[in-house]
């Protein structure tokens, strides 16, 4: 068992949308998803990508506007008499006013609409920047700066959801002592295939923050039950997972089979909760569960005062 270190992670930025995390250096044409505020190459401040896109859109509008102004000016220049000049001027002003009004009313739609293709255009740059970050992480790993490595990869993980990243995360995470007060992730590191390290991590996490166990984890547990059981203390883990599932009614509904299977390995306090629940709400569909619960209660906790009253 490797030596684990106690760490305190940097706080991660919470954003509504992933693109909000993307920052750009206008000068170097690079992107940055970490916490630095200024570009390491040129020292200029990073701009949110949205702002960049908005600038592009703004300029585009300006260009369009200027084009119209040019046409109007040419019209005036080609005018051959005073009335013609006046008409050209008047109409021109009218057109420009219309333009301005249109812009005011519908400009925002254009901004958003421009943002999408902008991202498509910039995807290579973004990808390149992410790769650059990964290289940094590699360096960190080499230098055994696991905390930094994890913090960085956590940021990247917002953008790329591949198993590779997840597994990297897990590997870094497994270097740390997990505590209740840490901001831990579970769902976002659940890989698509069975991974030993993940299971190991799960074991640790479940101890400190069982509330992290969600549907994906439960599904994973269900899918790879056999592999987990092969592990040392696999049943215990399954029991803990089942115990974590007890937190929410829908979970109990959905994962009855799991609960029933590993009812004997559910920790006491969790089991107590289950017993109380089952006793209180004998819904339809919970018969098996009630039976299993009763069985264990009768077997193990017949003389437990906490369990009195559950029959």
């Amino acid at each position: 068992m490797r030596k684990k270190i106690g760490v305190l992670f940097r706080k991660t930025q919470k954003t509504a949308y992933t693109f909000e995390r993307l920052k750009a250096c206008k000068h170097c044409h690079t992107y940055h998803v970490l916490w630095d505020t200024h570009c390491e190459e040129c020292g200029r401040e990073y701009q949110p990508i949205r702002k960049l896109s908005a600038s592009v859109t703004r300029r585009y509008v300006q260009t369009r506007f200027l084009l119209m102004v040019l046409f109007v000016c040419l019209a005036i220049l080609c005018a051959k008499s005073l009335p013609q000049i006046l008409i050209a001027g008047g109409v021109g002003i009218l057109l420009l006013a219309l333009f301005y009004w249109m812009q005011k009313k519908y400009g925002s739609y254009e901004r958003d609409a421009q943002f999408l293709p902008f991202l498509s255009q910039e995807q290579d740059a973004i990808k390149k920047s992410l790769v650059h970050h990964l290289e940094e992480i590699g360096a960190d790993v080499k230098a055994e700066r696991y905390k930094e490595a994890y913090e960085k990869i956590r940021e990247i993980g917002h953008f790329i959801h591949s198993d590779t990243i997840k597994i990297r995360k897990i590997m870094f995470l497994n270097h740390f002592i997990l505590r209740k007060d840490m901001e831990l992730e579970l769902e976002t590191v659940t890989p698509s295939t069975y991974d030993k390290d993940f299971v190991e991590y799960l074991r640790e996490v479940i101890k400190v923050q069982p509330s992290l166990v969600k549907k994906s984890v439960l599904d994973y547990a269900r899918r790879y039950k056999a592999y987990i059981l092969l592990q040392e203390n696999g049943e215990q883990l399954m029991g803990q997972i089942a115990g974590a599932a007890l937190r929410m009614r829908p979970y109990i509904d959905q994962y009855q089979d799991l609960i029933i299977e590993f009812i004997d390995f559910i920790p006491r306090d969790r089991f107590l909760r289950l017993a109380k629940l089952v006793h209180t709400h004998r819904h339809e569909g919970w018969e098996l569960l009630y039976a299993a619960t009763k069985r264990r209660v009768d077997a193990q906790f017949a003389f437990d005062p906490d369990f009195a009253g559950i029959s």
Partner: protein, 595 residues
């Protein structure tokens, strides 16, 4: 780094630049248009106020910038027309002023003409305003005044020059006056008249001045030049031709009267040279021709009179006026015939001959001359084989070293031509006789015989009597025959006493005299052209002969001459000698030897 961000930036900036330029353009256009409107209205105001000049000026100013169209079209067209007029006049002025200043006549005239035609064109348009405007602008620019002043001054200046006879460049003066437009004289005719008057006055005075101070050649050359100049400028100058003719007639007539032949020739030649400016039927030229003809006839007369030298001299003088080479050639032949010794002079110009024999029809030559150089012991032969052939000449060095006498003997060769006999002092005998015959074909003399003897007498064409010859006939008076082989001994006539033999003396003139034959004295002073010959073996002194006018007894006897005295023989002809007799030519019979 070409990103969409930067692309957008660039395109926006580019657009901005274009728009700024466009806006500036618009500002300018609007500015100019407003100004144009203002000025147009102003121009219209002036126009209404009948101030065309100011109206047009303002109008032109308004149209400086390409702006908008404005205003009544008809009025605009009219004003544009006025602008054109003003611009045309200003352009003419710009051309004319410097031309006038620098006195470039052709240009001044050209601008003047352009102006006049333009003026006519404008006046022909039937637009009162245009015409008035034209006049106003023209006056303002001082165009007409400028030309008028220029031409008036040119005329005055020319007149002044002609008045004082101080015309430095006549061609320029005439040209200037011709270029002045007719108007400034008051019309085409008036101009022609006035010019002719002035030119005539000038030329007459000038001719007088020249005649008084310059040579004939200079006078006629300068006057001819004047005529030429007038002609070049298209001015007729018959009057000057007449004056010239009159002058020349006087001068040439004078020279003819004075019989100044070189003068006449020079004048005639000079006058002929200016033929191109003379009238077609020039009296003076006719006079020259006539006189020339008479002089030629005179020369021919001289030739007929055998005054060949005079004839040739006259022809030479006249060679300045015509080609006398054929005439000279025509004189040459009769002269040679007359005086064959010329042949010798021509062939041996540095040679002095004494004596000279001339004659004709001997040895195959039509005319011949034989010259003797006693000192050099040479005889020279020059002859003309026929009339048209070139003369031949050759000489012979005599193989003797004493003085000698040279005669045409009675001996005749095959062609009945006499044999030339050279008598010199002999070594073994008193005399050495050499017989030579000129051979034209061989271009040399043929030595027919050489014989030493005490005496030699020629009996006739082929027989000779030799006294005491060396060789056959020694100590004899023998007869010899002259033939192809020379002298051949024929027969003895009589024996000679030994004491009759006398030793030969060294060659000296006195030795020949001691022979006992009286001879005429030495010839008169030897002049290369004056022939003189000793008449050999003449009878005793005191004998005189008749001198006839021609080579024959039928001619008149013009005098007598003593054979003692020196006789100058010019030539011989068929047994007659032509001699100089009292300054005239006479003929005497060839004295016959009697022995």
């Amino acid at each position: 780094m070409i990103s969409s961000y930067q692309k957008s930036l660039w395109s926006r900036n580019l657009m901005l630049v274009l728009v700024v330029a466009a806006v500036i353009g618009v500002a300018l256009k609007i500015g100019w248009s407003l100004q144009k409107i203002k000025l147009y209205d102003q121009a219209l105001a002036y126009y209404e106020a009948k101030d065309l000049v100011k109206a047009e000026e303002t109008f032109a100013k308004a149209n400086e910038h390409a702006g908008i169209e404005y205003g009544d079209e008809a009025w605009t067209t009219q004003m544009s027309g006025l602008t054109d007029i003003r611009e045309e006049l200003e352009s003419l002025s710009r051309q004319a002023q410097p031309a006038i200043k620098d006195n470039r006549e052709e240009e001044v005239l050209q601008t003047y003409r352009s102006y006049q035609s333009f003026k006519r064109e404008v006046e022909g348009r039937q637009e009162a305003q245009a015409a008035t405007f034209f006049q106003t602008i023209s006056t303002r620019l001082g165009l007409e005044k400028g030309w008028s002043a220029y031409y008036q001054q040119a005329i005055q200046h020319a007149k002044a020059q002609m008045q004082s006879l101080q015309v430095s460049d006549q061609q320029a003066l005439i040209h200037t006056l011709v270029l002045v437009p007719d108007e400034f004289f008051g019309g085409t005719e008036k101009k022609a008249q006035e010019l002719e008057t002035h030119f005539r006055r000038y030329e007459t005075a000038k001719l007088q001045e020249r005649a008084d101070s310059l040579s004939f050649l200079d006078v006629i050359t300068q006057t001819a030049k004047s005529i030429e100049l007038y002609r070049q400028e298209g001015i007729s100058s018959d009057w000057l031709q007449k004056q010239l003719e009159r002058y020349a007639k006087g001068e040439i007539g004078r020279v003819i009267r004075q019989n100044d032949l070189p003068g006449f020739v020079a004048m005639a030649k000079a006058y002929r040279q200016i033929q191109n400016v003379l009238p077609d039927k020039s009296e003076v030229l006719a006079t020259i021709e006539t006189h020339l003809q008479s002089l030629i006839e005179q020369a021919e007369k001289y030739a007929k009179q055998h005054k060949f030298t005079k004839a040739t001299d006259l022809y030479q003088e006249l060679s300045g006026l015509l080609d006398t080479s054929s005439l000279l050639a025509g004189v040459d032949e009769p002269w040679t015939q007359f005086d064959p010794s010329r042949l010798l002079q021509q062939k041996y110009p540095d040679q002095a001959f004494d004596p000279v024999f001339t004659g004709s029809d001997h040895w195959g030559a039509k005319t011949y001359a034989i010259g003797v150089d006693q000192k050099e012991r040479r005889i020279y032969f020059a002859a003309k084989p026929t009339e048209n052939e070139a003369p031949v000449s050759f000489d012979l060095a005599l193989d003797i070293d004493t003085d000698f006498t040279f005669t045409l003997s009675k001996l005749e060769d095959d062609h009945d031509s006499p044999v030339l006999l050279v008598s010199s002092v002999g070594k073994e005998r008193a005399y050495l006789y050499t017989g030579v015959v000129p051979q034209l074909s061989k271009n040399s003399f043929d030595t027919r015989f050489v014989i030493e003897a005490d005496d030699l007498t020629i009996e006739d064409a082929a027989r000779v009597i030799v006294k005491n010859a060396v060789g056959p006939g020694e100590h004899e008076l023998a007869s010899f025959e002259f033939g192809r082989k020379g002298l051949e001994y024929v027969a003895k006539l009589e024996d000679l006493q030994p004491e009759h033999e006398e030793p030969a003396d060294p060659a000296s003139p006195s030795a020949t005299e001691e022979e006992g034959d009286s001879q005429s004295g030495q010839g008169t002073p030897e002049l290369p052209g004056a022939p003189s010959v000793e008449v050999p073996h003449t009878p005793s002194a005191g004998h005189s002969v008749d001198v006839y006018a021609g080579p024959g007894k039928e001619y008149k006897v013009i005098g007598q001459v003593s054979l003692d005295s020196s006789i100058q023989v010019v030539t011989d002809l068929n047994g007659w000698y032509q001699i100089q007799f009292d300054g005239k030519e006479g003929w005497i019979e060839t004295p016959k030897t009697a022995n």
